[in-house]
Symmetry: C2
Subunit: 501 residues, 2 copies
């Protein structure tokens, strides 16, 4: 095959895969937002078939040679070489799985999601337990096909965050335990901050009206993104100009949908801002889960919980809810928004206790895969760990083990990236604040200019560079967890006046 | 190949096509409801590729032999034989088109839809005109590939309504012109009925709340159907348990979204009620456009505009709009709902002038394909014909030639089925009313039992029998336009007290 023929074959292959991926993406978003539930079995069976078609494309036996040929060809440009390497890596993970098993897994994964949703709605872990048990076995089987010497859970961790393993995460979480658990105790003992006004009744239709204004502030343009509602908020994307964001409105919280939206729009910007020349190819996605979560959590916490973000937005929110917020000062509102109290639901957690939610999930995942924890009675194990670390436990499994969607589709190894991403974000923000006046921009309706910094330093690369290299490019140094610890210590010491404790 | 091998191959083929069709259906609904517009080009290109994959499946060169083999095999059951015959017919229409042209056409069709939408929004026919011109040429080319002796437009008419052609439609519309145009003139001269209260300002959020109640009355179950909003309301479906219905809310009309929803839910019931044993195969759809429109227009007009339908629903509607409707009597409301006044927009038209809107489109389509009418300045031609038949003309092309979506995707030959369907409906209703007490059921919240009659006599067959056979099975006689003429004459003579004219 000539170099031109190889390139043509490669481009065709990439385009075809992008078509199936687009279809799977839209079918998935449809399923999670509006698709009638009674049609799920019919759709799932056919979606699994299409996933099989994509699998066949991915594992086209002639492609490894083409990819290697392009990598070896000195005339291949850097972007294409990098893409070919990423495809090689991806293929190596799927090529080893028999197609029938892959298709069966896709079908099972959809069924497992349906079972999780039903179990959560009926508040009954027993409905989901057999699916979780089977899911763990399925994932073990899938990873065993790779025939690598390394631990299976280490491989899962590496898939979501290349370069990470249990040893590194153990060190990361040890630091979090050592530094943050005592701080959480101090905050617990400090004088509480009143946030009762955030938990009054907030009419959902009125919340939606404010949300429209907030999306405008966030410069989330409806021509390239749309928002819908789901049980579990998520972001999906197909190309530069198509990002789907969902949220969930709670009648007894004014901040839940807001912070969740700022978070998801953070994900959306990462995808939207990737250089459009990568559209449709493997380089067009965010580089890793940790990097993705760093962007969403940066927006949610390091921007969305600041005084200056609300200096602009709070008066608008007050207009929608005069009886609940009319008498509240900006300072009191922002303090309340940052209250730290151990709570059950991860997505609703404050910044300080958040990594402990992740620590618990990480320890459970480790246990599930090294055999020290079983899916049976995992609801009880879950509660025991919440009791141990945060001194609370869930009365309802919908607020305990069933709160998160991830395990229902076999995403083991994802959770730790949420905490890692938060720590990445602290490092990015440290540099960003030295270069631009973030507070001033937020206060003066220039959210887009903050995003522009993220685009220039992080987003536009897509998968062109590894996370560790992007960290160095953007901040001038390797990943350093200390920024995260310092940020949280500083913030909560001030907020709770712990200087004198 | 043995009979069993043929059957297996046939079933695999049917299943695979159903997977692609499901994907195309969901992608299409997504496009028309929520998909970000800026991503359209990226999606359209990939959707066209997937359409090409479906095309390749449909035109699998080994299938004609398999289908013929199964038809010839005496052990093949009647359902399968019928399905094979329908597939043969369908294949013969696609097999003759070169795949590249087919894929290009799919892509062009999506672009043409986007151009139509933009033209309508900007109220500028010139944006859409080149697409319409090209669309006509493309359709001519596609039909020419069939190499049939018959007129191309006759073939298009036959595609949407097997057995129909220009000669038959000419006779049908001649009867409509002869009988209804004079009646329309009489109504115009009669004392007008006050319907001004229907056109006051009706808050859209409040309309949506009533819609929820109406959908409950219609027994439209959210587990198998969902409703969304689009510029042009439509119904889509993938299987027994998945029907998507859309509507459009107008701030100055309380009836537009309501009647449109009753109409679309009529389509949805037809698909939902097809025997589930046909799910995923060609027999699972409605048999023809005329038959489909007969069911939607039966629901909209022969049920949704009756006094007894509103005897139940009007008090609920009044509760949502006390200031606009609190003082209006049921009789006055129903009379207003049936007012006949020549108007510009087909979907908003009353029953009496409705077939004239169709007549105009039919005459234009005929002209476009026999060369007596050109796409150039078609906005003017359109207005001239509205002037001639209804004495009105559109100030804005969005209410003139650009009001309908059909031509943007090349659906020439569809429009006449709306009028034909209305006439089918009159014949069905004549029989139905002789067998069940429709008024009593509607008044007493038993809409589902009326639908049950339609299911038993029409819906459940799917494509198992031709429209003409279903008409005979359900009503005991062949299609007879006189039921339609008599129904409209009787209704409007009474409504406008024309007995003495």
């Amino acid at each position: 095959m000539t170099a031109d023929e190889m390139k043509k074959k490669y481009q065709d292959w990439v385009f075809k895969m992008s078509a199936y991926r687009m279809a799977m993406g839209i079918i998935g978003v449809d399923k999670m937002t509006v698709a009638p539930t009674a049609g799920a079995a019919y759709r799932d069976e056919r979606t699994a078939y299409l996933a099989g078609e994509l699998f066949s494309l991915e594992t086209d036996p002639s492609m490894p040679e083409v990819l290697q040929g392009l990598i070896d060809d000195p005339s291949t440009d850097g972007d294409t070489r990098r893409a070919c390497e990423k495809y090689q890596e991806e293929i190596s993970h799927t090529l080893c799985i028999p197609k029938d098993e892959y298709v069966d897994f896709e079908k099972f994964s959809n069924e497992s999601y349906d079972a999780w949703l039903q179990a959560k709605q009926k508040n009954d872990y027993a409905i989901f337990e057999p699916y979780l048990t089977k899911m763990i076995e399925e994932k073990k089987k899938q990873y065993a096909y790779r025939k690598k010497d390394t631990d299976l859970y280490d491989q899962m961790l590496d898939d979501f965050e290349p370069g990470m393993d249990q040893q590194k995460y153990d060190a990361f979480f040890a630091k979090i335990k050592e530094e943050l658990l005592p701080l959480i105790q101090k905050v617990k003992a400090a004088k509480p901050i009143d946030d009762s006004f955030l938990k009054e009744t907030y009419d959902i239709e009125e919340q939606k009206k404010f949300m429209d204004e907030l999306l405008t502030y966030l410069h989330f343009d409806k021509s390239w993104g749309y928002q819908n509602e789901t049980e579990h908020p998520f972001t999906d994307w197909t190309c530069e100009n198509d990002c789907r964001v969902t949220t969930k409105y709670l009648p007894n919280s004014v901040t839940s949908a807001i912070l969740s939206t700022v978070h998801e729009v953070g994900h959306a910007y990462y995808e939207h801002d990737v250089d459009p020349k990568y559209d449709g190819m493997i380089l067009s996605d965010g580089i890793s889960s940790g990097m993705h979560e760093s962007q969403s959590r940066l927006c949610e916490n390091y921007l969305g919980r600041t005084k200056d973000f609300w200096a602009y937005n709070f008066p608008h929110l007050q207009k929608h809810f005069p009886s609940q917020l009319g008498h509240v000062s900006l300072d009191a509102f922002v303090d309340a928004l940052n209250v730290s109290v151990p709570s059950l639901v991860r997505t609703e957690a404050d910044e300080l206790t958040y990594p402990i939610h992740i620590l618990i999930r990480y320890e459970i995942e480790k246990g599930l895969f090294n055999g020290t924890i079983s899916a049976e009675h995992l609801d009880q194990t879950w509660n025991d760990m919440y009791e141990k670390y945060l001194g609370i436990h869930a009365e309802k499994v919908s607020e305990g083990i069933l709160q998160d969607v991830h395990w229902s589709s076999g995403e083991f190894g994802y959770f730790p990236t949420y905490a890692l991403g938060s720590a990445f974000a602290a490092q990015f923000v440290h540099t960003m604040r030295a270069q631009i006046d973030v507070d001033d921009l937020l206060k003066n309706d220039h959210y887009d200019r903050v995003i522009a910094w993220l685009k220039e330093n992080i987003h536009h690369y897509g998968c062109r560079y590894d996370a560790k290299d992007i960290l160095i490019k953007a901040t001038g140094e390797e990943f350093n967890v200390q920024y995260y610890i310092d940020y949280l210590k500083d913030k909560y010491t001030k907020l709770y006046h712990l200087e004198n404790v």
